[in-house]
Each structure stands twice: as C-alpha cells, then as structure tokens.
C-alpha cells in the first residue's frame, strides 16, 4: 500500500479479527497444547467431604506405581509457601481473612478442596495413582447456606471468623432511608435470591510450571486473565521470592469470564512440584474440578424494601444481602458484593435515599468471586426487580416508572450518594424509547391481553441498566477505604521501528476479546500507518509492561487509553523531528494522517515512516533529542466509565408444562464510542446469553451435606444453540468524558442487563395470576408449580 494515500479510518470499522486464522485452523496455542522436554503430568486428589479434619494420608501405594514420580501433600508445601493472598480487603474485612493453601493442611472446608498432588509420566498414570491414596477423614458438621451460617450454633469454618462472618459492610444513608420508608405512601418488601453460577469457560484452567535450578527462575504458562498480577502475588506473597524470578505467560486463553482473574492453589502447587521433581509439571483441570474448585459467581440472599409515592416516584430503598463467599476468600472476593454491588444499587434512577448492608459469609462451598458483571448483575437484578414490583403494586406501566425516575441528562456527572464515583455521562431515555419501539411495546401489550383471554401466557420484561467498568482510579480503589491492594492502571509501549513497522506491547491481554485487532485499529488510525504494519504483543510478563488484567470491561478504556497516549507522545516527538527535517519552527508543524508538514504546505510533508527512519539512524537529530520513536505510558484513569442501556425480552410460557420460551430479545446499549462494532456486538451477544441462562437454566446446587449436585456438564445447564433466541441489537452513543477516545466498555453489559430482563418478562407473564416474584432459574417445574399453586 502506498504510504502517500491517507489510510482509511479504522476507528469504528467492523474489521474481522486478525486472531481468527490461527483459531479456525486448529493452530491456536492453548496451555494444554504446549509440550516441553521432560514434561510431567499432575493430578489432584480432592476432598470428598465438605468439612472434615484430615487425620492421615497414606500415599505409599501411589508412590510405588510405575510412572509415578512424586506424591505431594499440603504439609510439605506449607513449610515453603504461604497461603494465597486476598487482594481486596473491603471495608469491614479485618483479621478474619482466610485464604486457601496450595493443598489443604489439617482440615478441608469444601468438597473438591485439593488434598494431594500426584506427579507422573502421563495423565493416565497420575489419575490411576489418585485411587491408591488413602486419606483418613474425620467428617465435621457442614453449612452451605449463607444466612444459616450466621446463626448461633452453626458449624464454624474458621476460628477467627465468629458466626462465619467475613465482614459487615454498609453504604448509603441509613437514617434518611429509614425515614423515607417509614413515611412512604407505598412500600414493597421482597426477599430475592441471586443464585450461584458456575462461570464455565470452555477451556478449563491449566498450568505448566518449570523451575531452573541454575538461575532460581520459575516460568509458568497459565490460562490466565492477569499474568502480571499472578506473577506479583505468587512471588511476593506465596513464595517470598523477588518478582523478577518468575515469568508468567498466558498463551491463547479459552475464555475466562472472571474465573481466571484469581490466583489459585494449583498455581502454587505446580510451582512447588516443578522445583521438587526438577522437571516441568503440567496440570490441566477436568470439568468436574472446574465446577468444584474454580471460583463461582453471585450467590446472594437479599431482602429489599422499596418505598415511593402512589404515582410512582421512588423515594427510598433499603437492601440487606447475605453474600456467600464460600469456604475461603478468593483473590478479590470481598470487593464484589461491596464496591461493585452496593455502590451501584441506585441503577439508572435518582433515588434520594438508599441504604445497603451486606454480610459476607463463609460456608462449606467453593469460593465465590467475580463472574461476568461481578456485582453489577446482582445490583441490577435488585433494583430492576424492585422497580417492577413497585410498578405492579401501584398499577403503573413498567416503562413509565422507569422514565419517571431516570437520572436526567443534564445531571451528569451524577453522584448517587452510595460512595461510587460519579456516573460519567448518560442519556437514559433515548435507549428506553428505542428499545420500546424496536419490540413494538404497545402492540405486544394488546397481544398479551388477547392471549390471556385465551389462556395463553405471554410476558414482556424491561431492564434499564447502568454499570461501572473501566476500573479504576487507583487512589479511589486503594486509599479511600475500598480496600483494593494495589493500583488499577494499565501500561503500554509503542515503538515505530526503522522500517516504519509498529510494535505495540500492552499489559492488557485478550481471552477472546480481540485485542490484537482492536488495538491495531486504534494505533493505525492515530499514527496514520497501515493496519497491517501494526503488531500487538501481549500476555507474557517478560515482554510486556505491567498490566492489572482483563476484567471489569476495562481493556479499551484503560489499556486502550495507555496505547493512545503512547501514540500521542510519538506523534509529538515526530512533529518536533519533522520541524528539524523541514527546517521550520516547531509550532508551525502539523501532524495528521501519518504525515507532518508545515501548516499550509501539505505537499512537502514527511511521512511517519520517513521520520521513524531518521529517528532510528539518528544521523541528524535536533539538539538533545534521543534516537528512536519509542514511548511508554502508565495510565491511571481519572474515573471509571458507566455504560448503560435498555433491554427488553418477550417470553411465552406453556401453562401445561411451565416451560418458558424466549420469543424476542431486543438490546439497546450505550457503551460510548465503539472501536470495532463487530467485536462489541459479539461481546453483547455472549453477555446476553449468560444472563438469560441465569434466568432460565443455570444454577449451582449444593446438597445440605455440601456435595455439589451440579458437579458436571451433565447436571449444570449451560445453554445450547437451541436454548437461546436471536438477539436484536442496536446502540445509542454517549461518549465517555473520562478518556480521550470516549470509550466505555462492552464486555459485561449484556450479562448485567439480561438476567433481570428475562426475569421481569417471566414474572410479567404470570403477574395476572397473583405472582409477584419467583427466584431464578425458571425451570419448567418451578414455573408450573407457581401457576398451579403447588
């Protein structure tokens, strides 16, 4: 491509992904695809009890099995390693932090907790050996329900957590809220459950650890959303070694959805094993292990009181939540039901008084941490169900009660009074109107009324949501009482080589989001070079600047802005060098579309490639200028970003069976400016599917004795292609004032909205039968029983 032509603008273009050719031909490189010389294979013996003391472990027979290299237990690792760290000690978390170890010591506290690790020449032999290990357990009493765990006499999981309470956390205005509720014309009270979910990335977790005894350096290939953070936590906290003694590499990652943010016991166990046996050790999680021992999501029991006037003005809301955090604290678990949940309970509404109290609770279940949306789906579910119940109580249209209480466009930046940073920008009504029009709202209401005459059950559900993403100003999340253990900035380096080719190294990394494409689009546009000339490198701590990871829909807004700013610095340097080359004053030089020229004389321009060559050969640079176009940025955002929108779903319920069928799903999202609409729409599709599946299908179930009854893909209902509808998407665009590109974030918006949307539709279909609320998931049996009063 001739560099003299202005390249097409890339920002906003639905370019197909450059990642795909390797993935559609089977040439992806996921962690289980990696082989190393001398590679050994690990398998983990997991606790069959939800709560038990370990009296003894006898591994003699396992060690004697041909092909077994080592059997490792928790006791020996504990001599060399600390427990895993918890990195988000939200307000109220004090001296009662309990985190897992690489393998259990003395006591197991949930079914599936690791007890011993076998290292063998093949996975087949390793699994054979597991059957030969004898463990003498002394079973203890079990509690799986978060509310029950806080009651007197409940089994105690940890000595330092009386009544199993991790923390009591509050936000909002207690006194004003009490007053608002006590003096209200109408108050609606309801208990709702946001059930536990299993994130289920299609690739389970997996780690390969290698130790070089000569240098004392570890390398770990990991299916990870945050390799830099994992390096930091494993070295500084678990192993107590310098950070530069470990290299973490995330190859292609087969989905994460939050579950691969956290530091996990198996990382620490494989690191120990690799050092012990002197060979690299690979551990690949089975799906059953993934369900038992990879962090889960949600699991709230919430009591709502929402108050307002007879004509539909909401005046106050009080919320109390038991948040089940599982047997130990996962890496950022305390932050999810606090900062990301309580502080977002106002939703898209201007509500004068809200008070939220959360009890985080230990139970004999798998750990619970961030899962797609992380706190905001739970908050959205609370406020959006509450709005519908209030509308139902006073007999107002659900669309109208939303419209009546929206935060108005002139009110931004808007402070909800819940301790969240101010919402950056928003305009909520156009998104609602667009969605109502797309679904044909009034027509559907007529149809629904007719259908009811004929005994058919049609329902329509609306959810207007706002979420917080692009986290986060480090100062806010760290020093101001939120309790996050480190910054949340992102960094990026951009180099323009002598050949004019551009290499971007970013601390941000993809696990399906298409960073290699999106970031190249951004750089090609800003720098004015061909898209093909931009290479994006990521995911290896040895080759990339520090990044806090990909979660919280933060890659474009934080990681992308770091890249944008590095490019801006390069453009500025190029401008100064061009002034020297063109023998003009700096202030007269314009840089645009990859060319620098004297204002008014674009024909005598120097291209970015010519400038890069000059900067690299460095024969003739301005006095004091360093060679090479190479700039790094550490970007700490001034605020989070707040995407919003309205989703509407229609459903039909079969009165004879209770089966719910989603009919249409319309989503109008505002994620700020969009770099690549193809990728953004894909994110919204997948997000909707996960929230819709929470409403209709998914739910992790523990028996009272702590056995996970939904312990495999045979028992846990991940939606299949024929279980989800077609999604009809559109957008409004309200740029974020927070970053120069105006982007917000799209990775979680779909999930945050869709569970409440579908839930509202199902309840709407049943509302004329006197049903005000049912807890998700809406299985045919549950709905049938509700219809028939059973």
């Amino acid at each position: 491509m001739a560099t003299t032509d202005a390249p097409a603008k890339m920002f906003g273009q639905a370019l197909k992904r450059r990642e795909d050719p390797r993935l559609i031909t089977g040439k992806g490189n996921y962690v289980d695809d990696i082989k190393l010389p001398g590679l050994l294979h690990a398998a983990i013996l997991r606790a069959p009890y939800a709560h038990a003391n370990i009296n003894s472990i006898n591994a003699d027979a396992a060690r004697a099995l041909p092909g077994v290299v080592a059997v490792i237990t928790g006791d020996e690792i504990a001599k060399e390693q600390n427990p895993l760290p918890c990195a988000w000690a939200a307000g109220g978390v004090d001296n009662n932090v309990n985190t897992p170890r690489a393998l259990a010591v003395d006591t197991v506290r949930f079914t599936g907790e690791g007890v011993a690790m076998v290292v063998a020449e093949s996975p087949y032999i390793a699994y054979d050996a597991l059957d030969l290990i004898e463990v003498d357990y002394e079973p203890l009493d079990v509690v799986v329900d978060a509310e029950a765990a806080t009651k007197e006499g409940a089994p105690q999981l940890h000595e330092n957590a009386p009544n199993n309470i991790v923390m009591r956390w509050t936000c909002g205005k207690e006194q004003e809220t009490t007053q608002a509720i006590d003096s209200a014309e109408v108050v609606v009270r309801q208990r709702i459950v946001n059930q536990r979910l299993l994130p289920t990335p299609m690739e389970t977790r997996g780690y390969i650890s290698r130790y070089d005894a000569a240098t004392g350096e570890y390398t770990i290939w990991m299916s990870s959303q945050a390799p830099h953070v994992h390096r930091l936590l494993l070295t500084a906290f678990v192993l107590g070694i310098p950070e530069n003694k470990m290299r973490c590499i995330a190859p292609d990652v087969g989905g994460g959805f939050g579950a691969k943010i956290f530091v996990y016991p198996e990382m620490a166990a494989t690191l120990y094993a690799a050092k012990q046996v002197g060979q690299p050790v690979k551990w690949i999680e089975t799906r059953r292990e993934n369900y038992a021992a990879t962090s889960h999501g949600r699991d709230h029991i919430t009591d709502i009181e929402i108050a307002g006037t007879r004509d539909g003005t909401i005046t106050g809301m009080r919320v109390h939540t038991y948040a089940n955090l599982g047997a130990y604290l996962s890496t950022i678990a305390p932050g999810i039901p606090t900062t990301l949940y309580g502080r977002m309970l106002s939703g898209v509404y201007n509500i004068p008084a809200i008070f939220c109290e959360v009890h985080g609770v230990y139970t004999n279940t798998g750990m619970v941490d961030a899962y797609r949306g992380a706190g905001r789906p739970e908050a959205t579910y609370v406020i959006e169900r509450a709005m519908d119940m209030f509308a139902d109580e006073i007999g107002i249209d659900p669309a109208e009660i939303r419209r009546k209480n929206f935060i108005q466009p002139q009110d931004f930046p808007f402070d909800t009074g819940l301790g969240m940073l101010p919402y950056d920008s928003g305009n909520y009504e156009p998104a609602l109107d667009k969605a109502l029009e797309a679904i044909g709202y009034q027509d559907f209401l007529k149809q629904q009324a007719e259908a009811r005459q004929n005994g058919r059950l049609l329902g329509i559900g609306i959810c207007s949501y706002v979420e917080v993403c692009g986290v986060a100003p480090s100062k806010w999340i760290g020093l101001t009482g939120e309790g996050w253990g480190a910054g949340l900035w992102e960094s990026a380096n951009v180099k323009v080589h002598l050949t004019g080719k551009v290499v971007v190294t970013t601390g941000s990394l993809p696990h399906g989001q298409g960073h290699e494409t999106t970031f190249a689009q951004l750089v090609a546009d800003e720098l004015g070079v061909p898209y093909e000339d931009v290479l994006v490198e990521h995911s290896d701590t040895q080759g990339t600047p520090f990044g806090y990871g990909t979660y919280g829909s933060r890659s474009a807004a934080v990681g992308g802005t770091a890249i944008y700013k590095s490019v801006s610095k390069i453009k500025e340097k190029a401008r100064r060098l061009a002034a020297h080359m063109l023998e003009a004053a700096e202030e007269d030089i314009v840089f645009e579309d990859g060319k620098a020229y004297v204002r008014g004389a674009p024909d005598a321009a120097k291209t970015i490639q010519e400038i890069a060559l000059q900067a690299s050969v460095a024969y003739d640079l301005p006095q004091g200028m360093e060679p090479f176009l190479d700039e790094t940025t550490y970007y700490d955002p001034p605020n989070c970003t707040f995407p919003f929108g309205t989703h509407i779903c229609t459903v039909e319920i079969d009165p004879d069976t209770g089966k719910v069928t989603p009919l249409r799903y319309v989503a109008v999202d505002d994620v700020g400016r969009v770099i690549n609409p193809l990728i953004v729409n894909g994110q919204i599709h997948g997000g909707i599917a996960q929230g819709l599946a929470q409403a209709l299908y998914e739910g992790a179930v523990y028996a009272e004795n702590g056995q996970l009854l939904t312990g495999s893909l045979m028992d846990y209902a991940i939606p299949r292609a024929d279980m989800v509808p077609h999604y009809e998407l559109s957008r409004t665009e309200t740029p974020s004032p927070v970053n120069p590109m105006g982007v917000k974030g799209a990775g979680e918006a779909g999930t945050i909205a869709s569970a409440a949307t579908v839930s509202n539709a199902v309840i709407d279909a049943l509302s004329h039968l006197g049903i005000r609320h049912l807890d998700m998931p809406y299985s045919a049996e549950k709905v049938w029983r509700a219809i028939h009063g059973q």
Partner: protein
Amino acid sequence: MEISVTVNGRTYQHDVPPRLLLVHYLREQLNLTGAHVGCDTSQCGACVVHVNGQSVKSCTMLAVQADGCEVTTIEGLATDGTYHPMQQGFWEMHGLQCGFCTPGMIMSASALLQSNANPSEAEIRHALEGNLCRCTGYENIVRAVQYAAGQMQGQAQGNGQTAMHEQAKPETPETAAELEHPQREGGRPEEPETVEDWQSENAGVSDDAPAKPEARLNTGEGGL
C-alpha cells in the same frame, strides 16, 4: 495394540494402549492439537472430528476403535491453502471469540452441511446441540453456518474465499448504524404456536443475516 489410521490423508501406524482416547491420540501422538478437551462427560463438543465422514466426539472413542478409519480434523479441513467455506464463515461472521470451541464447532457444522445443504436457523441450532460455546451466545455461529451454506450453494468458486494467511484489508468504514438490527420485516407472527414455528418463520429473515462479509476480500468486485 497396533493400529493404522489415516488422518487428514496421511496414514499412521502406532502401538497404542487400549484405553487411549482418540482425542489424546490425535493431540499427544500426532500433535494435532486443534481438537480440544473441554469436559469429561462428552457434553461440550470441543473435540469433534470426522471419522469416515461422520462427526464424532473424539473424547468418546478409543484410538483403537479408529483402526482402519479415515479421520479428518480441523487441521485437515482447508484444502490447497484455501479455507473451507465453514472456516471462512466463522471468520467473516465473527463466529468465535476465545476460539476454544471453534474447531469442534466448525467440524460439526461442516458435517451438517454435508447432510443438509440449506438448513433453516432452527435446523442449524438443533444440529449444534452437541457443541457448547460460552462466548458468542451462538448468534454469529448461526450466521457463520448460513454464510457457509450460501457459499457452498453454487456461488462462483473463490468468491468470498480467502487464501490462508492473507490479512483482512480494511475498506470503507462501516458505521455502527449498518450493524444495527432494525425490527424484522413483518414483525412477529400473530400467534406463534411453538418456538419451532416461530423460529422457522423467522429463519433467515434476520436483517443482518449474512448479506455480505464485513470486509470483502478478493471478491473481484467493488475493489479498493
């Protein structure tokens, strides 16, 4: 046990343990790591390959059972350096995100088109019941299959096909509006009786069904 298996046109002879699963044979012995293992109960379909032309979950079959069989894996689907239309469809329609389910998904979908050249949306969704995807919500997977079906139904050879390793070249920018989904023409049927009725009524009328690839390549028309 001694086995002889033809994989992607090449015949291999190995002595394998009787309990070795086909997926592990392909991945570990032949280094064909495109077939993935996503579960332990044969639910997810990430390991689907073709055995004698039928799509099979290779985690549910022993390597010894493939003795004398012809196996095609994702690595063998492209021919003469050109993507199979299904691979092309997944690329064009953004039918993948993390890519982990993709090889199995493409193998299942290409087997579908061998038995049903012009499937409805409902038929596509039904045929892919054995393949789980957690990223896409299946929307663009359905479009990818529709795209491939269109390509295979007698369009000029090479139209819309991409030689492998060729970069997507940007064209004129598309606006977000072009990707929006206005209401389906005709809206909903008056009284949907069953979801199948409803789906087949609407199959293929989605306004954003694959009318054209997002970035056109080598189409020989409307060039840069």
